[in-house]
Amino acid sequence: MNEIALLIAATLASGTPVALAGLGLLLNEKAGVLNLGAEGMMLVAAVAGFAVAFHTGSDWVAMGAGALAGMAMALAFGWLVIWLGTNQYATGLALSLIGGGLSAFVGLGYVGKKLSERTVFDIPGLADLPFVGPAFFRQHPMTYIAIVATLAIAWFLYRSRGGLVLRAIGESPESAHFLGYRVRLIRLAAVLAGGALCGVAGAFLSVVYAPLWVEGLVAGRGWIALALTTFATWRPWRVLLGAYLFGGVTMVQFFLQGEGVEIASQLLSMLPYLATIVVLALISRNPAWIRINMPASLGRPFHPGS
């Protein structure tokens, strides 16, 4: 029983960075901008966060720095694709490659460095409850923040005027433009928000989850987050669910191995990707549903006045 509780706890922790990045990308994409640079933004944020945590000793300042680093990368991306109209796919891929190289270069001096003592976050009272305590209430605060962020983003997109404008821009930037909305600025804001969330996710990985910096630390989680948004048909709760599913299957396969279950480890390490995609593809397979939720202008540039 206790092992199940610990498995749940590990699942939540494992899914949190993927969920944060996925939510950020969702905001991006709802505004019609596809940023394939998630992996690069997360890497740069991870090294920035680690460096700041190393020098200040504060995880929260570090995650702020991660957000800023992610935003800086996103700003460059946004300027290129929104104002200069460069191809979003190519620019995003370039951002990923640049982020990988840049983070490795900047991070050289931080490889093998150690952060100060990690804090334990137990919620007083709740953490000592049997089963649910170890399962849900001994998490890093970021785990709860990710859930609150999902709630907030879902509310923003579907219940607020700002969200409506954002989605309108994602559906038809031309119409939004003629209604007087500043399409490019709003798109940039969405891109920056996406960068910030990816940045927090990257910093969470290097400062809390690993906690260390090495080249390529993010190890594909940015790509997973990107795939998640599509397979979750751009619904915030499904992104969160998909992230937990991904984390959960990752942890379950380790758990099974530890229990001596005989499955090829190569197959097991493929399982999280496979399971996440299959489940999300199944719950999101309705074409009408995809059509309703997919931002119609996704990936298309917008030129005011054209």
């Binding site: 610990l6 150690k114 990690r118 390529g216 530890g258 493929m270």
Partner: protein, 385 residues
């Protein structure tokens, strides 16, 4: 949404999955051109002296990885210190396996290096190919098994470290369950798991080892997850065959014990760190260079271990009781003298089958073919034939 648009999106999604899957399978680095060979600092050679011998190293990681590549580079530096201006060393780091490796090794050969060291398993085929094209240059490959008239192989014996770590783990485990984070189920790693278990059994015959495979040499978050999973399953002393400090730090977070691997990792987990398994390549590199200088170099296979001063278990923590330190010291002395062999029969696998007869000592051929868990290790080896 247009049809065109939908198709494009599917393509992008498929691409993202492909990249993610690749990243999941192993280290995925964007294919980038290897950096130009860095020249190591050397004293300006006075003109009348003879040309220095040129030697080159090919590394799989960055020299600052605090692990495998770092150890090799320390060996290169020791060579420089030893031979001074009689030698000129070069290294190329982060060389990907495959076509890039072949090109880098060929470039180094063409640049007049007389001996080239490739320090990772995946360089075996590329090096073999280039060795055929440059018969006058000596090629050295770490951890492989193929040789040529001008290419030889060398390796270390981390299982000796793992055995000594096991002795400590057997004592320090309160739950009677120890854990191992494995990279890939290859003989080298299986040897380490088995040696770790055998060592622990000398202190606590009932000890159980749980193994989790991560299918990567280097993915710190994944290593941390695997370690967490072992700890959740009741293991309280961990060892790993992966290259980062993540396992050790996860143990620290959970108030459990673990070991450093590849280099001294004591600073990363002051409370959890029990000892670090290391390897020192400098002796071998100095010898190889000398053989080229003296023209006595010949194709052979060298397996370094504690005896050659290559492998060692260092920085044993203060929490380890005195009698256990003594026991480790005795084993180490035995290894140094060449009288102690980790795999001495009877060795039973975990199905009860005898793999090594009573009192028999394992030879190199036996060690090369380890494909089983010893008694005491839980589970089956994934994808075993």
């Amino acid at each position: 949404m247009t049809e065109m648009n939908k198709r494009f999106l599917l393509k992008v999604a498929a691409g993202a999955i492909a990249v993610a899957a690749l990243a999941g399978c192993g280290k995925s680095e964007p294919p980038k051109a290897p950096e130009p060979a860095k020249k190591a600092e050397a004293a300006p050679p006075p003109p009348p002296k003879p040309e220095p011998l040129k030697a080159a190293w090919v590394y799989v990681g960055p020299v600052g990885d605090a692990g495998w590549t770092f150890a090799h580079d320390n060996g290169r530096k020791a060579v420089e210190a030893e031979y001074g201006d009689k030698i000129k060393t070069t290294f190329v780091e982060k060389v990907p396996y495959g076509a890039d490796a072949e090109r880098v090794i060929r470039d180094l050969a063409a640049q007049g290096n007389k001996i080239i060291f490739a320090t990772s398993f995946g360089y075996m085929e590329p090096m073999l190919k280039v060795a055929g094209e440059f018969p006058d240059i000596k090629f050295e490959h770490a951890t492989g098994y193929k040789t040529a008239p001008n290419m030889r192989i060398y390796d270390s014996s981390f299982y000796q470290d793992a055995y000594m770590a096991g002795i400590i783990a057997g004592k320090m485990s309160k739950t009677g369950t120890i854990g191992f984070v494995g990279s890939f189920p290859i003989p080298e790693v299986l040897r380490n798991i088995n040696a770790f278990t055998l060592g622990a059994q000398t202190v606590n015959p009932k000890i159980k080892t749980k193994v989790v495979w991560v299918s990567t040499w280097f993915d710190p978050p994944k290593e941390a997850e695997a370690a967490q999973s072992l700890i959740n399953g009741g293991a309280d002393v961990l060892l790993q065959n992966t290259d980062s400090t993540a396992v050790l730090q996860t143990a620290e977070k959970n108030g459990k014990f673990a070991f450093g691997w590849d280099s001294d990792m004591s600073a990363f987990a002051p409370k959890a760190h029990l000892a670090s398994a290391i390897v020192d390549w400098s002796g071998y590199y100095k010898r190889a260079i000398k053989e080229v200088m003296d023209n006595t170099w010949k194709t052979e296979r060298t397996v370094l271990g504690v005896k050659e001063g290559a492998n060692d278990l260092i920085k044993i923590a203060d929490v380890v009781p005195e009698d256990i330190r003594k026991k480790v010291a005795e084993v180490k002395d035995g290894m140094k003298a060449g009288t102690f062999e980790v795999f001495t029969g009877p060795v039973l696998d975990n199905t009860g089958k005898e793999r090594l007869a009573k009192d028999a000592k394992a030879d190199q051929a036996w060690k090369d073919k380890v494909d089983f868990y010893v008694k005491g290790v839980d589970g089956k080896i994934p994808a075993a034939k």
